[in-house]
């Protein structure tokens, strides 16, 4: 039985904001199936009582002092923008035509 279906891969591509072609979906479905099949053995390890580690260091809530300090100028922040208008990032429409 395959670990992941082509429909699931299409769903993952949508969630990942990747506009993939049909050929790509076929290709990735095959590959992801193999990869998931090989990593799935972590599920078989007995670890009910083991706490998870998200991180290697025992650090919690590292804060910096709440002080004003220099940041990027608008020109610097916008220097790599694909489109700029009136000192702002210009973006495509974010709402549908109907809205």
């Amino acid at each position: 039985m395959s670990a992941i279906t082509r429909d699931e891969v299409a769903h993952l591509a949508r969630l990942s904001r990747l506009a993939l072609s049909d050929d790509e979906l076929d290709h990735y479905a095959t590959q992801l199936d193999v990869i998931i099949g090989s990593v799935a053995r972590v599920a078989e390890i007995a670890a009910e009582d083991v706490p998870p580690s998200s991180h290697a260091l025992p650090l919690t809530n590292v804060f910096r002092p709440d002080q004003v300090r220099p940041g990027l100028t608008p020109q610097q922040a916008l220097s790599g923008a694909p489109a700029v208008e009136d000192e702002r990032f210009r973006v495509p429409r974010i709402l549908g035509e109907e809205a």
Binding site: R17, A81, V91
Partner: protein, 496 residues
């Protein structure tokens, strides 16, 4: 001996004493890059003019009597995953083609502060995801030992530059082995510091709980000097360790293993390991014993599950980190024709801008984090991470350092694993546990495999903040082997 064959320490002292100018040294390396980079393709960007300017500034300061550090005026190749305000930064991806960052990474800033002369930016697997540089959007880098083979990855441009004498030093980043594995397969030294020991600020993120900047060099002392130059606490990185940098330079000068307890990881041998790799590893263990170390076999059973855990944790973090490439604020934007929505433009841009391995990992991570699978995959992988840290802890009660081969095989041919992700992932089998637990680990050259005459690396793993032990043992191995060989391993490499 020509300038390009000298060590970083030698160059630093020649420049500091005024015997050689930093400009001469920079020019010699720029000439070498012109000579060999057509074959190697180690660099994505060479900043010839700015390198000469930086070198001139160092020469001026030395002439004015300034007391600069041991690496002032020494050239360095910088992995193209660190932001640089004066050079493009691409992370090997089309999605960042031509991007000029508005700020320097902390590592970049500290290289400049130490007076290092940045020659250019080196090639890498896209977003540091890979073990061969074949995943770069800008073409593969070739191994100086055999141009038909990979230089390792993801920091393959940096390993090839140093092994090919295009720079005495380079930077890398190690998330699952991306410094140690390329160092191993090109016959040089590569160190992954303790996680949090070197700053991630301005390092383009792949897997934030694992990413660690570190040095490449042709000898252990040079690596330690570079390690010391860019490491240490950085308030701009919330996971930076607020503790002094371990005494790595002193340890590299000391290089003594008498009385040290060295553990051989039982699990890292057998099927999948090239005989020539195991033979050189076994000899290294015998060498350490002859130098006065006590050898102990150690079992770390959880290490066998490190690889699958890593390939759930790293892609999960990558799927989240790479969400920032949204075509809105910087980088590529595709399909913005006035009719499409932001979301459509985003999906078209990401499909056009990311390569296959990055897409695979983003989708794999999205899968592992999705409800219904989270506990079985990501949650379980985090538990394995705890088990691996416990194995290390138990082992370091018995021994001072652990050793293993750095990678199961020597450099593989270009193309051999490009379409087989699982085979590619095996290159990181021995290096991943140290990433998951945050430990320090180094790879030092330990000989050539009989089958193919290619370099083999010895991995030395130390506890968190025990970075100095890696250098101490590495320097001892290096000294003994160079005595035996009558020179460094790279002296056996073919002329480019």
């Amino acid at each position: 001996m020509s300038l390009i064959h000298k060590s970083a320490a030698e160059l630093g002292s020649l420049i500091g004493s005024g015997e050689v100018s930093a400009v001469e040294v920079a020019q010699a390396h720029l000439d070498r890059i012109t000579e060999v980079d057509g074959k190697l393709h180690a660099f994505l960007h060479v900043g010839a003019e700015s390198a000469i300017e930086q070198a001139q500034a160092i020469d001026d300061r030395i002439a004015a009597g300034d007391d600069l550090g041991p690496l002032a005026g020494v050239p360095i190749a910088h992995k193209d995953v660190f932001t640089t305000i004066d050079m493009p930064t691409t992370a090997g991806s089309k999605i960042l083609q031509g991007w000029r960052p508005p700020y320097d990474a902390t590592v970049t800033r500290r290289l400049r502060a130490a007076g290092l002369v940045i020659l250019g930016k080196t090639n890498l697997d896209e977003f540091a995801m890979g073990s061969s540089t074949e995943n770069s959007a800008y073409g593969v880098t070739r191994n100086p030992w055999d141009l038909s083979r990979v230089p390792g990855g993801s920091s393959g441009g940096s390993s090839a530059a140093v092994a090919g004498y295009a720079a005495p030093l380079s930077t890398g980043t190690d998330t699952g082995g991306s410094i140690r594995q390329p160092a191993s397969v090109t016959g040089i030294v590569g160190m992954k510091p303790t996680y949090g020991g070197s700053s991630r600020y301005g390092l383009i993120a792949f897997a934030s709980s694992l990413d660690t900047p570190g040095p490449f060099a042709r000898n252990v002392l040079d690596a330690a000097l570079l390690h010391e130059a860019f490491s240490g606490h950085d308030p701009m990185d919330s996971t930076s360790i607020d503790a002094p940098v371990p005494g790595v330079v002193e340890a590299a000068r000391q290089g003594d293993v008498a009385g040290l307890r060295i553990g051989v990881v039982k699990e890292f041998a057998g099927e999948g390991y090239q005989p020539g790799v195991l033979a050189r590893f076994q000899e290294s263990v015998e060498l350490l014993e002859s130098l006065g170390a006590k050898i102990v076999e150690v079992s770390c059973p959880s290490f066998t599950t490190a690889l699958p855990a890593y390939y759930l944790i790293a892609p999960s973090e990558c799927s989240s980190n790479l969400a920032r490439f949204d075509a809105m604020r910087y980088g590529l934007r595709v399909g913005d024709d006035g009719t499409r929505s932001a979301e459509e433009v985003m999906a078209l841009t990401r499909a056009a801008g990311f390569g296959p391995e990055v897409k695979r990992r983003i989708m794999l991570g999205t899968y592992a984090l999705s409800s219904g699978y989270y506990d079985a995959y990501y949650g379980q992988a985090q538990k394995v991470r705890t088990l691996i840290a416990r194995d290390f802890e138990a082992a370091f009660h018995q021994v001072d350092v652990l050793v293993s081969p750095t990678t199961p095989t020597t450099a593989f041919p270009i193309g051999e694993r490009a379409d087989d992700p699982i085979a590619m992932y095996l290159a990181d089998l021995c290096t991943i546990p140290a990433n998951l637990a945050g430990n320090a680990a180094i790879s030092v050259p330990c000989g050539l495999a009989d089958e193919d005459g290619l370099p083999v690396g010895l991995q030395i793993m130390a506890p968190v903040l025990g970075d100095d032990r890696c250098y101490r043992v590495g320097a001892a191995v290096e000294r003994a082997l160079e005595e035996r060989w009558g020179g460094g391993l790279l002296s056996k490499a073919p002329t480019l």
